[in-house]
Symmetry: C2
């Protein structure tokens, strides 16, 4: 069989091993995100029940500072961590607003 | 002390408990992302060494399909999972390009 019929994984077993690690980590990330959204959904219902606003900028500032420290400890780019948290926070606020606006 | 001097956590212990869970999960996410980038960095070096392109659309399509299935299993919004993977993938490709372009 010519090379063109092989996938990169077949031609590069080392690459295939890296990709299996990435796939394992991605599965863990998806399950952790599912757990995180379960908790933030409860926060959304709690906020609606107690008439609290969907976002809380003081809390978000504390989270960003804490994650920068964690990112330094984990040797992860703090700029990426902030972008990641903003990405998650936007999604959380969107869901809190949905919950607030449900009849 | 008047209510205005209390933080939301002090006034709402149930909210404080939810937030502690979110903080634990975020720490786990940051460490997992650090591990993921460690692996993708090795992929970047491997690709440079073997003259492979930074992105691999066939691989990305397989990852997205797999993550949709995982998201269904974890009861996570598949649309969000896809946005999340695109977010991570963009960052990974950016880093692969950086590695490729290093002298």
């Amino acid at each position: 069989m010519v090379n063109g019929n092989h996938t990169p994984e077949e031609q590069h077993p080392e690459l295939a091993a890296y990709r299996r690690s990435i796939d394992n980590i991605d599965a863990a990330l998806v399950y952790l995100l599912a757990e995180r959204f379960k908790v933030t959904k409860n926060v959304g219902y709690y906020k609606r029940e107690h008439d609290l606003p969907p976002g809380d900028s003081a809390r978000e500032q504390r989270q960003i500072a804490r994650l920068h420290q964690l990112a330094r400890d984990a040797d992860l780019d703090p700029g990426f961590t902030e972008k990641f948290l903003q990405f998650i926070t936007r999604e959380v606020i969107r869901r809190h607003e949905q919950i607030r606006d449900e009849i």
